[in-house]
């Protein structure tokens, strides 16, 4: 029941916002954000109590892993929702707000359904819901970005569909037309007896397909374009959680395939993709020119790390990957939101055009620097801890060389990000930019997100370790 509510809230909000204007729209948007967050909390509580909740004849099912993703999606959605009115006028009609909530809905659906096919549909739906969000500014560049986004992600997800069909095929072959043959719960139960060769084949398709959505190199090419051209709240959602949803699909499938083929097969492919992502990201982060693209490439980097974590496996690797997704979601969405403000103030997304940020925008500049430090994986922020966990898994599970390579590439990316942060944050401000006063209310969500990052880095909130443990356990019951 609670799951239906969780999904209904954004859907209803989207529907209302199609019609609502003015103050009503503001109220609807605000309520939608708050209720979604509340529903996510309720789901988390329910899962913590009952291990999993189901609805609609088991079509919707949330276990600890789903709850983890739901919490992430709704945290970032709340952050983005709070920032959105700065970027897009609320209450003037238009497609932006309905689509924003629809986008949230599709992501929530993707992580709360128990049906592999429906998940595929939902993930395809995330693309569809967000294409016009990317093209919100309707500039030439935004148009180009949204075209490539639509094309590449559609093709990628179609490839994932091949994998889904193959999984279904082997399932049907072995057990006949079982009513819930495409459910995670069923697949996990039956996996040890499924044909390993077909599952291997299927996994390749699934990996390429959902890897496209997760922004893993070399399927990441849509990502810098779309993330840099989308309005800040949309970039935050896409970078923060949409990629994570893609990786979530890979993670689920890997758990199934591992049961049939053993760990090594999937891990090898994932290590390859993870390292490729890190390498590509490192190369593009070395001397970035556009800060929104820089943030996008950094997403490739962090998804690469999470991918490595999944590949390395074990409680450290999986837990690290999930925690990394969460930390990255927080840090990256904060950065994208701030980048929206910076772009509004400087009128350009070029790094060269921005200087003296700390002097010009005292809060935004400082928060930007702090969030960049967090993004670079420094303590006391959570990404440090999750990276340590991932690499610990690497060394522990016998992927020493891969882990070492990954560490080296992270250093390169670090150097590039630091240089860009220096260029933007310090130096003499451009003459045309006046010092801006910033309302303190606007900074609250961002401060809260950064505080949460410190918490995941230094002292885990009560229940976090347990939630992480349950989420990992959900993969291999």
């Amino acid at each position: 029941m609670i799951l239906v509510l969780l999904l209904a809230v954004p859907l209803v909000t989207a529907a209302v916002l199609v019609r609502a204007r003015g103050r009503a729209a503001a109220v609807a948007h605000g309520l939608g954000v708050v209720f979604t967050l509340g529903a996510a909390a309720a789901v988390a509580a329910a899962v913590a109590r009952d291990d999993s909740v189901t609805a609609v004849d088991g079509l919707l099912r949330a276990d600890a892993l789903s709850a983890w993703m739901v919490a992430l999606i709704d945290l970032v959605a709340a952050l983005a929702g709070a920032e959105a009115p700065r970027q897009a006028p609320l209450g003037a009609g238009g497609r932006f707000y309905p689509l924003l909530h629809l986008f949230t809905f599709t992501m929530l659906l993707a992580v709360t359904t128990d049906d592999v096919g429906l998940m595929w549909v939902a993930i395809e739906g995330t693309t569809l819901a967000s294409v016009f969000l990317v093209n919100f500014e309707r500039s030439r560049a935004a148009l180009e970005a949204s075209y490539k986004y639509l094309l590449i992600c559609s093709v990628g997800v179609a490839i994932a569909f091949v994998g889904t069909v193959l999984v279904y095929f082997t399932d049907v072959q072995r057990f006949g037309h079982e009513p819930h043959a495409l459910r995670w719960t069923t697949l996990l139960r039956l996996a040890p007896e499924l044909g390993p060769r077909v599952l291997e084949l299927a996994f390749v398709f699934l990996l390429v397909g959902y890897g496209t959505k997760a922004g893993l190199a070399p399927m990441h090419t849509w990502l810098p374009d779309a993330h840099s051209e989308a309005p800040a709240p949309v970039s935050a959602l896409m970078s923060g959680v949409l990629l994570g949803v893609g990786l979530y699909a890979v993670l689920r499938f890997k758990a199934v395939v591992d049961l049939a083929t053993g760990q090594a097969f999937g891990s090898r492919l994932l290590v390859g993709l993870g390292l490729a992502s890190l390498a590509v990201a490192a190369a593009f982060l070395w001397s970035p020119r556009n800060y929104k693209r820089m943030l996008a490439y950094s997403s490739v980097e962090h998804l690469g790390v999470a991918c490595l974590g999944i590949a390395f496996g074990g409680p450290w690797g999986l837990g690290g990957a999930l925690l990394h997704l969460a930390n990255h979601a927080l840090a990256k969405s904060v950065l994208f939101l701030l980048s929206g403000r910076i772009r509004a103030a400087y009128g350009s997304a070029d790094i060269g055009a921005v200087s003296g940020l700390v002097a010009v925008m005292p809060f935004t500049g400082r928060a930007f620097v702090v969030a960049m430090l967090a993004l670079m994986g420094l303590p006391p922020f959570g990404l440090f801890v999750s990276e340590v966990m991932v690499f610990r898994a690497g060394f522990e599970e016998g992927w020493g060389l891969a882990a070492a390579t990954g560490l080296g590439l992270l250093v390169v990316a670090f150097a590039g990000l630091l240089r860009a942060a220096h260029r933007m944050a310090y130096g003499a401000p451009a003459a045309s930019t006046a010092v801006r006063r910033e309302a303190w209310q606007a900074s609250l969500p961002i401060v809260a997100a950064l505080a949460l990052l410190v918490a995941t880095g230094v002292a885990w909130p009560p229940g976090l370790a347990a939630a992480l443990g349950h989420a990992v356990a959900a993969l291999a019951p």
Binding site: V208, P224, F284, V388, F395, V458
Partner: protein, 634 residues
Amino acid sequence: MSATVTAAAGAALGLVAAAAGVAGVLGVEWSLRVPWLVPPGGLELTLDPLGGFFLALVGTTAVPASIHAGGQRGERGGAAFLAFVAAMAAVPLAGNAITFLLAWELMSVASYVLVLGARDSRESLSAAWVYFVMTHAGLACLLAAMLLLGSWTDSLRFADWSAAPSALSPGAGTLAFVLLALGFGAKAGVIPLHVWLPMAHPAAPSHVSALMSGAMVKLGIYGLLRAGLDWLGPGPAWWGVAVMLAGTASALVGVLYALVDRDLKRVLAFSTIENVGIVLVAVGACMVFRASGLEALAVLSLAAGLYHALNHAAFKALLFLGAGAVVRAAGTRNLESMGGLVRRMPWTAAAFLTGSVAIAALPPLNGFVSEWLTFQALLQMLEIPRPELNLVFALGIAGLALTGGLAVACFVRAFGIVFLALPRSDQAAAAREAGIAPRAAMGLLAAACVALGLAPTLVLPALAGVASAVLGTPALDAPADWLTVTVSGRFGGLSTVAVAAALGGALLLPLAALALARAPGRRPGETWGCGRILQTARMEYTGTAFAHPFQRIFDFFYRPVKRLDIDVHAESRFFVRRLAYENRPRPIFEEWLYRPALEALHRAAHRARALQSGSANVYLLYIVAALLVMLVLA
């Protein structure tokens, strides 16, 4: 945060750390576990003698640095300063890898923020960049090594590592040692990982430089000791040889660059590299002795190294604080614009002179004691029955001796050019003495230099205790009576108290004799200059000129870029209008090692940019290619 609050808090923190550290050195054991803090694994702090020593070192350096900071109005970064001190105090206490890495990186972050301090200049930005990237690369090495160790021993607790060094295969141990040595060496400023040091130290405010140089760099040595002696147990002799050679190279390269640099704080930074090198020579000797089964000598070497680390903390912090006062007063870090400050800033001058004498290892101050001890340990190398190791030791000894001589020259230059003769700029001529807080801080440190110099009989047994605790050997029977330090039976003895007393007496003797003889007085006159009159500052020997013989002698090392521009008068070439002469040493490590590496990286990154060509078809092709490649692999 106001400067006073920062100072008080920092000093309090330092005092607590120092007290705890001394307790640890004296054998007090203490540990603390907080499972919910510092995930995953939990905060774990343990105090043991080695950790206690470095904790005390951090604490005692932090006290004067904080006091000095209290005198700096308008200096930013109070919170970062406190975080820096706290993180440094946490590093030697850390009892598991996660705690250690967290404290270690927090220390780096805090010091990075402090280096960034005057962030409006490009110079300090690039210094901060180089510093942070180097330190992060070092962290990556440490992380890899610690996680490797963790996976081999199935634990991230240091206690478990120390317990199971013999379980590691030699190859594994070596891999871990190399990685750890790289990581810790980068922090300690070992050649060729030192490049951040001469950039970051000048960029930071002086009390921060003092802390970085006095304490933070030492924590690199701490890590190396932990790695080489504790976690990885007695390694093969070549580890020690490698450390020793790296130390010798660092000492020589450091002092050679210190000798020719014109930036006062860079001179001190390079000298830090030198002193770290000296410590590492002792540490390396300790490792070789231990590998050869000579435990008493290993203890002596290690104690000497620790002593030098402690001494360096005292005199380098003193020198940095002094340099800070000078730079503030003269408005420049350039040696060639200073001069004559001994009359404008007598207290600072006296303190700086004390530090210079100490760092030049001249008796009876502290630098001499530790260098003497190091020599005593090295000179007994004949106990090792392997000629090739003996040769390494001989080279180490010679390197150390040359370093000592060059350090004397370096600090003659540093003190002489800055403080003596006539001021070379208007601002130096109008310099004002530092305030009461900086003077107090410098006074404390100068007193520490003297005390550590005169009291080896008290300090050495404690350090030998630390060393024997680390090495797991029974404590040596008292190597010192109240007056004289004796090493290795009757091999050598030293009594700085006696020397100091004798020097004092010998100073008084001629004074008294001359007074009794009623020697004629003195009268002021101008400096003689072959009959010319009117002495001006432009006639003085410059720092560059002073270093010139060294630049000629070590030409093969400096590889200077020479440039001579003579702008002659249009009508006759004998009338020179302007003459520009440049003779800048070439930073060979930057030019031959780092620049090519960075350029290669840059080129590679640039090439890789072609990947994102803008064509949707190419992007789709990537997907197909990835699919096909993975199908083939599967």
